[in-house]
Symmetry: C2
Subunit: 276 residues, 2 copies
DNA sequence: CCTAACGTTTAGGCATGGCTAAGGAGCACA
DNA sequence: TGTGCTCCTTAGCCATGCCTAAACGTTAGG
């Protein structure tokens, strides 16, 4: 079902380092440089980094990020993602547009401004850190933590998030390989070649399971197809819809084990082609 | 700094077992048994044990508990505690009264019903557990965690709270000796004799610093007056307004150290008179 | 080029939870 | 037994964020 979203591609992180580096005052005045009174209200939000956005606003920002990344997300799309009706989205987008968090064009959709993007990444970061904490320290399963992190991400402070990050050893990727935005607003990058495109006999290291579908994640993990695992493509079923793989990973207790995987799932497994 | 404690005393848990034992269904129907139409709305809230109370409602319940425990809290008192105006409190109390969370008598005040008490304790438990986590695992200072826990306590689930409790080793008291309500709704008890009432030459073990004043807490802790510390009253200033004490504790590195304490502060230090 | 279908926006409401202003209860002291 | 004074409540209002119903833009097919 839920297909992963945006193809966070390699190039991404640099571009972001740029926005993030920009103290975001210059950006805005250039990009949306208005001289109207509304600027005042907006200014407050920036000076101190984020004058407490409501959690609803945060949800919208995050939804836009997940749906479109740096592109444009449509009203209906956002409504579906958040489980609200389209009119609610229209109203909220107008408001957020006024606060310079999104660029909104009626009937077209909304995209994140640098400030909105920054806030969205802050939330995603919190979300992933909280999930990791719950799983690694409290013993939750990966399928139990999403909703709770969803709530908590809106109330934890910057300081809490950073202390938690340190407590977790500053992870850059979650256990499925999903990149955890950094505190400075940049996003770690990782190899993105789909396992499905691996050539015969070549060796592949898994970096990311590109899906939000829990059944798929659970299936892959039960077979130790997870970040760090190394595989070799031994053969293909005629037609190419089934891959016969073999584990060759080192840390993996699975060395030598065989694995059959459909092309469909293999295309969700991202990683890199290793030189032997 | 943050010292563990969990001096879970032997006898404890009984008194509370009584209240908590009451499954709160019987209580309510007997106590407030109305037959009017409003019952419907209220009924929904009870059937499933607590149909997600808003965080505001929770704040009110907690405030009443902190201010009055099982007694009656006045409108103004609650308003001050929560930082809202009196009319807001009146309105909220009426609503909560309808939901059978408090017993509200206009112009008199409100007290918790069993259901309200249960919810208040749930929140207090979460609050204290979160504070302990932040301090002991994330390295926060005790004076930094209150507000954040205040926010988080409203969003963490039962399961999260219990897993966190286990992660923290099921503490029964926070580091200031404040009792942490148990998951079953009972409250640990500890000795409550004020240090100020100690007789000359007698030995005293600190169990609790009975104040929320941060300056006082910091002052006492900087002198290692904290749960577990053991002191002997050596002499009194004429008039009895100053106590000359000496540390005799075992776990305490402070053994033999002298301490002068005003009667005022000594009355905030609760504990027990030890037989020598 | 026009029109139907779809998605989006406007209009009008509702619930929550807060506020100020103004009137009423309760109590203490004369 | 009144008379203040304090505290509490009632009345009326506002902001947020959601909803439904209805009008409107956009776009693709005839």
């Amino acid at each position: 079902m839920a297909k992963e979203h945006k193809a966070a591609n390699a190039a991404e992180a640099n571009e972001t380092a740029a926005d993030a580096g920009a103290p975001l005052a210059s950006d805005r005045s250039a990009g949306a440089g208005l001289t109207d009174p509304a600027d005042d209200a907006a200014a407050q939000h920036k000076d101190d980094g984020a004058a407490r956005l409501s959690s609803s606003v945060g949800d919208y920002l995050k939804a836009i990020w997940l749906l479109a990344g740096d592109g444009v997300a449509g009203t209906g799309e956002i409504a579906r993602e958040l489980g609200v009706t389209a009119p609610s989205v229209t109203a909220m987008l107008s408001k957020m547009s006024g606060a310079e968090l999104v660029a909104y064009e009626p009937y077209r959709g909304a995209s994140l401004t640098p400030a909105g993007r920054r806030e969205a990444l802050r939330l995603v970061r919190r979300h992933l850190l909280l999930e990791m904490f719950m799983v690694t320290q409290l013993g939750f399963g990966w399928d139990e933590v999403h909703e709770e992190a969803e709530l908590m991400e809106h109330v934890v402070s910057d300081v809490f998030a950073e202390r938690l990050a340190k407590h977790l050893d500053d992870p850059e990727f979650d256990p499925h390989g999903y990149p955890i935005p950094r505190a400075d607003g940049s996003v770690p990058v990782a190899p993105t070649m789909p396992l499905a495109e691996l050539a015969l006999g070549r060796r592949f290291r898994v970096h990311r399971l590109m899906t939000r579908d829990r059944a798929v994640l659970a299936y892959l993990e039960s077979r130790t197809v997870e970040p760090g695992a190394e595989l070799v493509l031994r053969s293909l079923e005629p037609g190419g819809n089934l891959l016969h793989l073999e584990f060759v990973g080192i840390g993996n207790g699975a060395r030598g084990r065989k694995l059959a995987l459909s092309r469909e799932l293999a295309s969700l497994v991202l990683g890199e082609n290793l030189v032997e």
